[in-house]
Symmetry: C2
Subunit: 343 residues, 2 copies
Amino acid sequence: MTASIKEVAQRAGVSLGTVSNVLNRPDAVAPQTRQRVLDAIRELGYVRNDSARQLRAGRSRTVAIVVLDVSNPFFTDVVRGAEAVVEAAGGMLVVCSSGEDPARERHHLDLLEEQRVRGLLITPVGDDHHRRLERLVARGIPVVLVDRGSGQSNRCSVAVDDRLGGRLAAEHLAAAGHRRIGFVGGPLAIPQVADRHAGASEALAAHGDGVELRMFETRSLTVAAGREAAERVCALPAKQRPTALFCANDLLALGALQGLTVGGLRVPQDIALVGYDDIEFAGAAAVPLTSVRQPREQLGRTAAQMLLEEAENDGDHGHRHVVFQPQLVVRQSTSGVGRPQTT
Amino acid sequence: MTASIKEVAQRAGVSLGTVSNVLNRPDAVAPQTRQRVLDAIRELGYVRNDSARQLRAGRSRTVAIVVLDVSNPFFTDVVRGAEAVVEAAGGMLVVCSSGEDPARERHHLDLLEEQRVRGLLITPVGDDHHRRLERLVARGIPVVLVDRGSGQSNRCSVAVDDRLGGRLAAEHLAAAGHRRIGFVGGPLAIPQVADRHAGASEALAAHGDGVELRMFETRSLTVAAGREAAERVCALPAKQRPTALFCANDLLALGALQGLTVGGLRVPQDIALVGYDDIEFAGAAAVPLTSVRQPREQLGRTAAQMLLEEAENDGDHGHRHVVFQPQLVVRQSTSGVGRPQTT
DNA sequence: CCATTGGCTTGTATCGTTTCAGCAACCGGG
DNA sequence: CCCGGTTGCTGAAACGATACAAGCCAATGG
């Protein structure tokens, strides 16, 4: 059914090794022999068997990236960045989504380990993954943490300063005079969420005089969760209700925007809204969203580069921790007045 | 470095085959032997080598899906549907993005063929892929066309009726009294685009009396391309300018919305806008978008089911062609009056 | 004219699994 | 006491590719 190198050899009247040479070191084969082999390959429709290659070589050319949610445009942009780098290097990037579920994450890691992937980019779900990743590294599979700083010095990481991002958002709101601010996000086990919250908290504490940060925890970082959180906000009596919401990502913010509108609250007149990530859709929302921008594609590119670099110099390799700075993009959802902007 | 089955066998004091049995047919091994083997596995941190497994088995457990654009929420939803089915069956789904580029598509297919994937879900870029896919099928790799009907009877397909979708959109606009309608989409080599256009064209022709459908071709189906098309529209003198735009997908429509706003045209008062796909962000846009809804996740689920089914019954298998019906969802971008809706 | 070189090619071992025929020990029935 | 049937395990043969030592032959140099 599927021709192997042996049949190609037979047909071309050469030995196994020669065919292999044609494939891998064409210059080491005499031109006319090479041509005969190439003809045979074409005639039989021969295609290399990667399993065999990998088995022999002991390593694969595929790199995996495990993200929290493929449907989140933030991650698809990260993936695109990583993809570009990996493909340029002749590899293949496989994308797995943990869906914020530690069990699925583990399952994916199991499979990827069995496949002996060349390296792993991961945005881990919780905090209990250290031993697991440790083991991969010990096995010679380099790991780069994405969108997550690492205290660990035995692996690289690429992150954006989430505390700073949280501070930027909170300071912006506090400066606009908000005193009751709500934080929408969760699960708190996700470090990015915790850090953004911590940053906001920090900034408000520094601000002094009873600025309050109230937590509206969500079960996931999705539009639906944002809508649901907004319902809780709307249900509060006006006196207790926050006058501004800081959402842990833009999906939540977009959901919250919908939920608030349904609940009869106007953004930003009745309640201001800040998102996080500045995904492409944030600026195009019903009320264009103020958001904390992250260098999404660059995150992916840098992570992939570091990974490939580590994969080359098998073994010794100075682990680096790159931290990018987020940037506040102010739009209508916090600006009180003004006309729609579309950047 | 990485333990193999042989070392496990040695440590447990049994033969190779026994370890393999513990892994694959645990009941065929005496409980205490089994335990010894399991202990050895744990102590050595043994992990199966999938390459070797695949090589021996001649087939892999991974299924691939090749989509036009991972950043398009339509496709991420399709992917999620497919993923759910494949994972439930114990497999793994690898996602590749062709970026609407035939060369990249070919490259991915090459790699996937080398990997001897179990099956392939694909939304092909152009129309010249038949021979290519044919070859995969001949090799025993089942192929299911996604979001694309197939005249071919030797493979399955799952699609949504794009001509009908185009008709729905165009009829809606014509019924609202629009006489100069613009179609924004491209490249036309993408069958979905061509079909949606054809459907619209058809509906308007049936409508008679000089209703005009003018083409604004784009280079891709992205937000940026939509913005750029809107600039072209804005540049036209008011008399020639369409009073409505039908965009081949929601990304284009969202981009167009931004471009039109920047160009000083109001949606829907000055120009109406219809998108396609009804992605989650369509309803949350600055002006909630009227759009043609497709059953996105179901598309993926059905495709994956058909693929797995075909992969089971190696060989004979009745190829099916499932066609879903799209559905027009009317929102503010074509409704002239009314208040924001958020569903 | 022999030795040496260098260009091409061959054959074989190897990677880590799974599979399968075969062997040893044991059991109960005739 | 032997025989057929289990049960539990072993050992070797694949799977398809790559690497590498070794061989062959013609050409080159002394």
